[in-house]
Assembly symmetry: C2
Homo-oligomer: 465 residues x 2
């Protein structure tokens, strides 16, 4: 039989077990944080009816959609009726519209699932990747105060992930559009196009933006300079944002700008109540978010030690979630983390060390005769809630220690013949390179204590994951 | 704008949040159990290269495969190069062959992901469903003792899920085939066909089997009766299996049967060491498992109070996992739980009550003036590891209690104006219909204790999930 070369499609991130454990811990921390803030889990099918999924005008995203079809339908020559989701927002819109009368509003949901995009194969571009989304969706209305809760979620999450340096950057699309209108750029479509270019400022620089706006949109030089001064404005923290907003509100009396200023003020005023430290949030008028559907508050999150990787958590406020599916008005606010890309970037930066194994204790086996006792110990530890791998074949202790070390298993319990003859089991702590002995009946208790201590005091430095 | 009716594809199980929480708890328990026994997580892409995935002769499974293609490739008129996985076994084979030199053997992996089959739409048939698999894969060889570990996993899992009545049924394909050979049915293909029919005994009955074997395979009546007597044999427990095996080994000296008997003896002898109670496992010579690739031990698991739903957890031993991808010999043993179907069946039987919410505490808001204090309390509870939903808009207490009750949130903390004036927060326990008051600074501590107690003593009966 000729062999098929085992390989995955380009653009899929497949991990070895120790990497998978680190990635799973990232997802678990995200999920725990979302649940901590009262968001409820939703999962939707990977495949949706194409007619339902693809309601929007076909843009770049739609061109990247994967269609799916069973063998039978393909052979019958039918057009594919199914498509793989390309984000979690359209499925959320479909879900909320479909179950509208069974859900309580404001509806707070989290969703951690993979999405699919037929991207060109390229390093760091993924065709399959995890998105981790939260949204709060109101019925008819959703007060601005909800926009202040999401920075609290981000703060709790990135603190929990062990990042010392991160900053949430906030802006408001009404303020942005009001400012443009005050500069004379009043047409909605034109504003969108200008904002798309402004959104690239951090990547391409001021000179590029000046040329583009003058060339493509005929904006005169003094106006571009005022725009550049505006989008260059940052507050040091949210506590210092008041002056910036005061100055802006005093200089321009355009109603949309005034509304944007008022919304931002309210969001910033709530942040302290939500427990978000002043230094972790700032105004950044350059944040526009490319997506047209944001209408108010917009957020990005940067790792201050690694600004080069861009925003790691973004989102904002939208006017109406599901107008394609229901006449109900469903305004909301949400954010999304591209976990696969984030993990990949952190790994590239060397910030994810190999994770400790999910296996907490390896029970070594030196001699066939101790197998029954080793298995009884394993059962006792498992009943105490400890993750145990029991060696079922006897081998040299040296090799079993080496295996545990490579696998990231911290504790090795050794019920060797000598130890058992003395009424003890030996335990090696590979992280501390220490060893102790304990009676078999006390092993579970002793390891519970060791594991609890290891959780509070890791042996060497913290992990990003 | 005309509206699109929001709906999912037939054959996908989409859940409301409270159902999703119950389902997620099922998956979490499965995952925790797999980790408890030292299995390591693996995830593979939903899409695989069709050339890699579809190596086997095209049977019913291959006809049900979904192919996938991006818009660009479709427009270019190319044949689809991608297919959605239809099980987790073929991706495991591909994974182990691909990373063979980076994995440690025996390789113990778990995988909890969705698989896709273009089944005909029918009640209880799913086109997308979760499989939860574990496998132990050896290199060159894997001693029979590993086959005794999987019943321990099943036992731990179904006990953890709160099922009082379940039983693991064990058989061995060598024993089965040896018995058939001893009866004169020696050809391998003919054995497979006969075993496929025998596998349907429990569903279709003895008369049907007698007719089928006589009609299709020309097996004479006395031989069918001996076969029926054999496959009708059950031990009451594994402790009582010895006599049955002794009798069988004495009556037939076919080497394959003797080998099967020896393997079963070894598996059964190890079960006590693995902590599996005698009453939870029995021999059942009727278990054949339809899949041809099992070669030794085979398992099924039945819920003794609900035998009508069939096996809820099945698996067995195979000779060689990945012969399509590598020349290395990779024998293994594994099992699989179809979690979506299991959840659906248990829900149909009314065994899943609505789950408690992931939200542990709702902080009620009676008056706008208490919002800052309510948010500070929410932050303190979250920092103590409690899942909190804070009401951000004031409303009547009655409505907020009704909301909590419907959502399955057990505790409602009420920092009302009267309470705060007296220096306390009121806490309602909706499960016990009791109430207490506590100082704001003590709220987190008090709720931690309540939640810990609730975990140990649920208010009314146990949940299956």
């Amino acid at each position: 039989m000729s062999l098929v070369q085992p390989r995955t499609l380009p653009g899929a991130l497949e991990l070895l077990p120790r990497e998978q454990i680190a990635f799973q811990r990232l997802l678990d921390t995200i999920r725990a944080t979302y649940e901590r803030f009262g968001f409820l889990p939703v999962e939707t099918p990977v495949m949706e009816l194409a007619e339902v999924l693809l309601t929007k005008e076909g843009g770049e995203t739609e061109r990247q959609v994967y269609f799916a079809q069973s063998t039978g339908d393909r052979e019958a020559g039918r057009a594919p009726e199914l498509a793989l989701r390309f984000d979690l927002t359209v499925p959320l819109a479909r879900y909320v519209a479909q179950y509208e009368h069974q859900l309580a509003f404001p509806f707070r949901r989290y969703q951690i699932q993979r999405v699919y995009r037929g991207e060109r194969a390229q390093r760091g571009r993924f065709r399959e990747f995890y998105q981790c989304d939260i949204d709060i969706v109101g019925k008819d209305a959703l007060p601005v105060r909800y926009d202040a809760e999401l920075p609290a979620v981000i703060h709790h999450l990135f603190t929990g992930l062990g990042f010392a340096g991160f900053r949430i950057e906030i802006n408001n699309r009404k303020l942005l559009r009001g400012f443009l209108a005050a500069l004379g750029i009043e047409d909605g479509e034109r504003q969108k196009l200008v904002l798309r270019e402004v959104d690239k400022l951090d990547k391409r620089g001021a000179d590029w933006l000046r040329e583009t706006l003058a060339g493509q949109f005929g904006v005169d030089a003094p106006t571009v300079d005022r725009l550049l001064a505006f989008v260059g404005s940052r507050s040091e923290s949210y506590g210092h944002a008041g002056e910036l907003l005061d100055g802006l509100a005093a200089a321009h009396d355009h109603p949309l700008l005034q509304q944007g200023v008022a919304e931002l003020r309210e969001v910033l005023a709530r942040l302290a109540d939500f427990g978000v430290p002043d230094s972790h949030v700032r105004l950044n008028f350059a944040i526009a978010r490319g997506l047209d559907y944001y209408t108010g508050t917009v957020y990005e999150t940067v790792l201050t030690d690694h600004p080069e990787i861009g925003s790691v958590c973004s989102g904002g406020r939208y006017e109406d979630l599901a107008s394609h599916y229901t006449k109900s008005r469903l305004p909301g606010v949400g954010l999304s983390i591209g976990a696969t890309r984030l993990f990949w970037q952190l790994r590239e930066l060397g910030l994810f060390r190999d994770s400790e194994s999910t296996v907490q204790v390896l029970i070594a086996l030196l001699d066939e005769a101790q197998l029954p006792e080793a298995l009884r110990l394993a059962t006792a530890l498992r009943e105490a809630g400890i993750n145990v791998e029991a060696q079922l074949e006897p081998g040299k202790l040296k090799n079993q220690l080496k295996y545990a070390d490579r696998a990231g298993i911290r504790f090795v319990a050794i019920p060797g013949p000598d130890e058992l003859a003395r009424g003890v089991v030996a335990v090696k702590d590979l992280a501390r390179q220490s060893q102790f002995e304990v009676a078999p009946a006390e092993l579970a208790r002793a390891l519970e204590v060791e594991i609890a201590q290891a959780r509070v005091m890791p042996p060497a430095g913290g992990d990003a994951g």
